[in-house]
């Protein structure tokens, strides 16, 4: 029996895996110690649990446990990684290269640093969502201290060529930072093979708890340091003070372990369902898949259904299916997704997009239901869309002088 509503917004957050919850439970009431308490068994127990989790987390990304700095999540990781490098390497230069489709936690951090004297280059992306490596190469300067490019995009799921990007950064003596929130736990990420120096990721996107994340900071070749953004007791090798969230970290560790062990099987199953969904929805006239399909996360599909508006579209089924739209009719600015716009999509296509984010618990039955609900709603709304009628009559919609409001 199909249980409603269906959750297809796994890029926003994921449900916690029951195995993760089970691992966390002893660390609330029973083993509640502070991992920094060095003089008694409560502290030792907590420290041991954190050490074990740190190993689990490190193993998922091919890192050394000492290279894992625990944070409150990826937004903090992005801030610490980028601001920390800017401060630590100030004598070396002030130039940072990033791209226009980054998460706001990266973009706004860069904007903040611009006010403090940083020079930031925002690379445009190509129509398929990937950056142009030649443009990156051309943007490198002697003062470039950091290249900050995301591993995989949250809206369209495209995977950037991180190996090539890190090689370019290295060649020019700059560090490579990546926001890998959407990639870690979903696809193989190896900090050494990928040449990553600093990487932010988070537990709740990989079936772990909210409020805990990590910043990978390379210790060898080169040894990287970031200036702490939170001062205090000198936790996490002095880079991030604050009492450790022991149950959260334990859950993060377990989530990382489960992701590592189940990744291959999960990916195979989920990508098949994603392809089924996408192939069925592509059958609808004037529907377009956004982002490079060959370099994309296995569980994401972003599709524009031209001539219908995304929020109106979601209303047709949002009591039964939870997903996201690139439209932002509710925002005061009425601006659609900046990521989709950065691909060169017209505002009309950006307003018409839906993001499907499948997950570990998505079933074929749910996908079949979704295909039908979305198809029916698109067809119904097109019947009441003046733009669809004009398109069918051969009117050039772009030639009309619209009154912008």
């Amino acid at each position: 029996m199909l249980k409603l509503p269906i959750y297809l917004d796994h890029n926003a957050t994921t449900p916690m895996d029951p195995r993760v919850l089970e691992a966390m439970l002893p660390y609330f009431v029973e083993n509640f110690g502070n991992a920094a308490s060095r003089n008694h068994s409560f502290g030792w127990q907590a420290e041991e649990a954190v050490d074990y989790a740190r190993e689990q987390i490190a193993q998922l990304i091919g890192a050394d446990p000492k290279e894992i700095i625990i944070t409150s999540g990826a937004t903090e990781g992005d801030n610490l990684g980028i601001k920390g490098v800017f401060e630590m390497y100030a004598t070396k230069g002030n130039h940072i290269i990033t791209c226009t489709t980054e998460h706001k936690a990266v973009l706004d951090t860069c904007k903040h640093l611009e006010k403090l004297g940083a020079e930031v280059t925002y690379l445009e992306v190509q129509p398929d969502g990937l950056i142009d490596l030649k443009q990156l190469e051309a943007a490198m300067k002697p003062t470039t201290i950091l290249v900050a490019i995301m591993y995989a995009n949250n809206e369209i799921g495209v995977i950037q060529p991180v190996k090539e990007i890190s090689a370019i950064a290295k060649k020019h003596g700059a560090l490579f930072f990546t926001d890998a929130v959407q990639a870690v736990g979903k696809i193989p990420v190896d900090v050494n093979a990928d040449g990553i120096d600093i990487m932010a990721f988070t537990a709740h996107k990989m079936y772990g708890p909210k409020g805990v994340g990590a910043l990978y900071v390379r210790r060898k070749n080169p040894r990287v340091k970031v200036t702490a953004q939170i001062d205090g007791g000198g936790h996490e090798r002095g880079m991030r003070s604050g009492t450790l969230n022991v149950p959260g970290i334990v859950g993060f560790g377990k989530a990382a372990e489960v992701a590592r062990l189940d990744m291959a099987a999960d990916t195979e199953r989920i990508s098949k369902l994603r392809d089924k969904l996408e192939n069925a929805l592509k059958q609808i006239d004037e529907s377009y898949v956004n982002g490079n399909p060959a370099h994309r996360l296995p569980h994401v599909s972003n599709i524009s259904f031209k001539y219908v508006e995304g929020e109106g579209l979601m209303m047709g089924f949002n009591k039964d299916i939870a997903l996201s739209s690139g439209s932002a009719c509710t925002s005061a600015s009425l601006e659609p997704s900046y990521v989709l716009k950065a691909l060169g999509l017209g505002d009309d296509l950006a307003h018409s997009s839906l993001r499907f984010g499948l997950g570990r618990h998505t079933t074929e039955e749910q996908i079949d239901f979704t295909i039908k609900a979305v198809t029916d709603t698109v067809l119904k709304l097109r019947e009441m869309s003046p733009l669809w009628e004009m398109f069918k009559e051969g009117v050039d919609i772009d030639a009309i002088q619209w009154a912008h409001h």
């Binding site: 017209g346 307003h351 869309s385």
Partner: protein, 138 residues
């Protein structure tokens, strides 16, 4: 954000979706909004040339649920009104009836603009003076 029951009802069972012959002298057409802004409304009225009463109204809307509901409700209100009465329909009446939250007020403004634009189209076609409305910021 949750939609009001009335918005959901108009969205699920929109009233008067359709197209009137825009070339007809007795039909006024208003096309407002822009695809880039995420909403476009086309509202049409059929007017009895003798009485000036709106005998039919149709709409098609590209937009969110509130935009669809605003235009659906507007067509219902237009039917049976004279074009002089229709011009007094205020967007805040739509807001109140549909319980639109502040972020959706622009949908009702668009519907009011569509009504006025349809009436003016009819007036111009029939040799009546085009009404001038105050510019509003929305």
């Amino acid at each position: 954000m949750a939609y009001s029951d009335k918005v959901i009802d108009h969205y699920s069972n929109p009233k008067n979706v359709g197209t009137l012959d825009k070339a007809s002298k007795s039909v006024g057409t208003g096309l407002v909004g822009a695809p880039e802004c995420g909403d476009v409304m086309r509202l049409q009225i059929q007017v009895d040339e003798v009485t000036g009463i709106i005998t039919d109204a149709k709409f098609k809307t590209f937009g969110c649920g509130s935009a669809i509901a605003s235009s659906s409700l507007a067509t219902e209100w237009l039917k049976g009104k004279s074009i002089d009465e229709a011009v007094t329909i205020d967007n805040m009446d739509l807001v109140e009836e549909l319980n639109l939250p502040p972020v959706k007020i622009h949908c009702s403004v668009l519907a009011e603009d569509a009504i006025k634009s349809a009436i003016n189209d009819y007036r111009v076609k029939n040799g009546l003076e085009e009404l001038v409305f105050e510019e509003r910021i929305h």
